[in-house]
Amino acid sequence: MKHLLSTHDLDVPTVAAIMNVADHMSEINARSVPKVPALLGRTVASVFFEDSTRTRVSFETAAKRLSADTMSFSASTSSVNKGESIRDTIETLSAIGVDAFVVRHASSGVPVSVTEWTDASVVNAGDGWHQHPTQALLDAYTITRELGTGNTLAGVRVAIVGDIMHSRVARSNIDLFARLGARVTLVAPGMLLPAGLAGPGITVTDALDDVLPDVEVLYMLRVQRERMDAGLLPVGGEYSARFGLDERRARMLSGDAIVMHPGPMNRGIEMVMDPAELPGSRILAQVRNGVSVRMAVLFRLLGDGQLGA
């Protein structure tokens, strides 16, 4: 697999291999000079058609710490949404010389098309509502390292709460966590739950309070305010009251439970309390691990030329 487009491409041995390499990267990142020459002379181009400073910076940092050269292209989706322009951009950059593209776009499926327009490796940094595989990897990595479960999530009880319908993070995490053996509970209001997601290891509910005492990992998704404006959700504070993480709910968690969020947060909506006051919060660890995991992915793709174990 010379691309990372979707968590569906990741089998258990590949995930283990990536996590093992990520441990190396974590060690490197802890040094005073966090840099190794592993990808010297390689070029990683981040092509972001949808705004995201944090993910782009995370990938660029990962590339630079491996001594790769970086190129950065960002365009707002509205001006560059015609197929020809995405293709033009990719082909032009490829001609300059790119070893790996990191692509984010508001439309699901764009990274798949990108693989047809270049010989470089392609990493999906988020496409529409579809997939965000490096986020799922860093989330799984964070959980395994925090809970000390090795390279597996067997039996780990995870609750994913929020707008599952519109969340590529949710789709990726549900797929990857379930494959790694986790017991996943999806908590969302009915209209934010896509059909057909329940399955082996996956249950669905809209009663958050019932789930909290038992859960080892509470994963909160952001809910965009625009959903409420579009008439998709009831008005007022009803969403926060039913699904938001406030102090009362934080107290219902067990002492060892960890709380995660992919960022950025919508304070007051899904995060009613300040996560800094949550001892179980691992949100900053996610960010740190994001760099390590992305370094591992880039190293495997550009070093080995393939992601698989």
Partner: protein, 189 residues
Amino acid sequence: MPAGSSFVRIRLTRPPMTAAEVLTRDQVDRAIARIAHEIAEKHPETSSLVVIGMQSGGVWIAERLAGHLARIAEAPLTGSIDVSMYRDDISMRPVTPVAPSRIPVDLAGRTVVLVDDVLYTGRTVRAALAALNDHGRPGAVRLAVMVDRGHRELPIRPDFVGKNIPTHLDDEVSVGPEGVIVARPGADV
């Protein structure tokens, strides 16, 4: 296959090989002990040494050396180093990092004894020197190897050697606590 041995190279399809034991278990033990004495002789302040084993073949030897030094003088600091990120052939062949490096101290000004099982082209040692530098600029680096099998491609030479064993390019050398074996392609004559 003797347990604990490390192979220099893994081939998927193997021609018939003839194996010869060139060092027995006892000879390996004595070589390590001798190297420890040589180190102590050259560097009497053994407690300030940092003995670092290269992943993965040099780690057990480094531990043994450290054990000997602790008995004949004072225990040095120990660690291990994985040089996967520093290899010069990363895109040429699969590189699987083994375990994250464990460097116990800032190496600035320190004398490092770098330990590996087999010295061959010298490229792995070159990578290790680059890797060590990222943990501080050592005052000096000494190289200790169990086997020097020749065929250097870079100007690298060991300071302490268990045994010099001339080999052919397609020989395979495996080093373990039970002994050293050289396997050569070709049926048993």
